[in-house]
Amino acid sequence: MKFTWFNLMPWPYLPDDFREKHRSVWVDIDSKLFDPVKSHEVYNTYLDLLEYAATLGFDAIGANEHHQNGYGLMPSPNLIAAALARRTEDIALLVLGASIALYNPPLRVAEEFAMLDCITGGRLVAGFPVGTSMDTNYCYGQIPALTREKYREAHELIMRAWHEREPFAFNGRYNKLRYVNIWPRPIQQPHPPIHIPGGGSIETYDFCIDNTYSYSYLSFTGYLRAKMLMQGYWDRVAERNADPSPYRAGFAQTICVADTDAEAEQLYSEHVNYFYNRCLHVYPGFADAPGYRTIKTIQKGALSQYAPLSGFANLTWKDLVEGGHIIAGSPETVRQRMEDLIKSLHVGHVFCLLHVGNMTKEKCMYSTKLFAEKVMPKLRNIFPEHADDNRFWCKPLAKRVRAGSLPVEPELRELAFKDA
């Protein structure tokens, strides 16, 4: 099993009456709610928490990309990953991911991922989301019906840039480049492992199977509701005669751990409530720009989790725990439900959302530490038969340099003349 510690980086100061007074946490969120001075501490605390998680035995720490979004302060996940690259030594950095259709040219992503891979010594796990409709269409202005075509072209360009060793001309519909020749290039050859967040379309299942990418489902509605979608993926894997390694798939889950179930509710319910009832208060008109989702996908019933039907409306702790949106409770309760999640979805990657809403750093550290020490070790060997499958994880250099390896100052003159 691979466990990634994740923080969506929510803005923790949305007012109590946010739901009543504001129509959306995303796209047209009231910019007056953002306080740059307060964000200084928020960002640094969140980075500290990621670095803290890196000391506890997680396999990776993660960053993702959202725009104009009150629950995601990472318009550029690569900046966060770069900050973490220098402050961590062994842990993988999972960027899930950079929305490749949004960059002009998308080579920028190929270059930045290569930089991250070089700086970290091959610790990068990369992700290529299409991006939500809110981010991609409403915030970044991509034409919905052309978004997927542009995404596919961006993917082709990046892959060719990573694979080919001679400058080449790329005559795409959206990108016309005479000299593609990226510099630097990634340490992991031909490229870092790729994870693809998906929302239930067959096209994305096939895309992952064809390219040996890991398929991840990043939902906030929990594993019980995810079963149908993930089963669709595994059925497709079987149909295509691909091996059923659980590392072909990942799932994001909100997790809260305390000493007892009652204590978990006492400690975390206000923060979970903040996340589900304020952070996910998205105006349904932004959920799915017409043309963003393919007709086939809509007909299959795979709607946006922000669509009117499935929108989040005033859920209580009990609703959220029983509905499986969150896994919360004592280490034993959480272990049981996590085991159920991992086995029922057959996922080798879990993206653990252990910071929730406006949680304080102390509570986040407490929950994280309990999970790392009392839950994670017991979940490690659920798929022993696939333990050797390293196709979907990074392969760092054996010998890596550390930050802070400059010579000490008094010896500078002597060292400077060493090779003179």
């Binding site: 796209v27 409403y138 919905p144 052309l146 017409p290 043309g291 007709i295 019933g301 669509a307 009117p308």
Partner: protein
């Protein structure tokens, strides 16, 4: 409404056909032709009316090959060629007006008269056009109609989106129609038309609902500046859906546009003054 089908270079396209007389091609708005039936039938009393549905609308197949403004413009000329029509009166509403204006700019000698009914295609920073793509059904009437209540009933704006069966139909229809429309209207309904309007030679009539809140009548001034001889008819008690709300007033205005090259009454009056 009954539709026939004609093959084009890319996909088969459905079209409505009725009436006798000079050929008049009507290009619908982003909502399709659902509210246009009475208007088209009124026009058919004096013209041979053709109303093709853009790919993605009604039973017209979707067409991935249509991506940008030029594709939409040439596709619609392809439809007219396939129908064997020459020198049509081109009438376009909203998105259809944007396409009609492009067609008349691209092929200025092939359009007999041009009628733009609350057309899209221009953008004024001080008067931004509302984002219809993010609107839920209940939000549309106030932008589309003078009589909001009647309009809401006409488009079924007060449906409950919590019924999964309905939601799916609604989303599929939106994905097909507005997905196609989005290629030229999303996120800003402007694709450089302003720079090409000078090419239009056809006698041009602009028709606008006085209380249009989607593309307010100030846009009529912008069109008139770019097409100096264009005549404007402002229709009272009508919103964006002017041909639906004031069907006969709009049809009468179109009937009054004289044949090619002949000055209309309004233009004559202006000239004498």
């Amino acid at each position: 409404m009954e539709f026939k089908t004609i093959q084009t270079a890319h996909v088969p396209v459905c079209y409505f056909e009725s009436g006798k007389g000079e050929p008049l091609v009507y290009l619908h708005g982003a909502g399709g032709v659902e509210l246009d039936e009475a208007f088209l039938n009124t026009l058919a009393q004096n013209f041979h009316v053709y109303a093709p549905l853009l790919p993605g609308y009604g039973d017209s197949d979707e067409c991935a090959e249509l991506r940008d403004m030029l594709d939409f413009t040439l596709h619609t000329w392809d439809v007219i060629d396939a129908l064997g029509i020459q020198d049509p009166i081109l009438v376009g509403f909203s998105m259809g007006g944007m396409i009609a204006a492009e067609m008349a700019a691209v092929a200025p000698h092939d359009v007999s008269r041009l009628v733009l009914i609350s057309p899209a295609g221009l953008w004024l920073d001080d008067h931004p056009i509302a984002d219809v793509f993010s609107m839920l059904p209940f939000e549309l009437p106030k932008y589309l109609f003078h009589d909001e209540e009647a309009g809401a009933n006409a488009i079924g704006a007060n449906v409950e989106l919590t019924d999964p069966a309905f939601l799916q139909i609604f989303l599929v229809r939106n994905a097909r129609q507005l997905g196609a429309a989005g290629k030229i209207l999303f996120p800003i309904p402007e694709r450089g038309l302003a720079g090409r309007l000078y090419r239009i030679r056809a006698r041009t009539l602009l028709i606008w609902g006085e209380s249009d809140k989607l593309i307010p009548p100030i846009y009529a001034d912008a069109f008139r500046k770019a097409i100096p001889d264009a005549e404007l008819v402002l229709v009272p008690e009508a919103g964006h859906m002017v041909a639906f709300e004031q069907t006969s007033a709009v049809a009468d205005a179109i009937l009054r546009v004289g044949p090619r090259g002949e000055a209309t009454m309004a233009a004559e009056v202006t000239a004498r003054v």
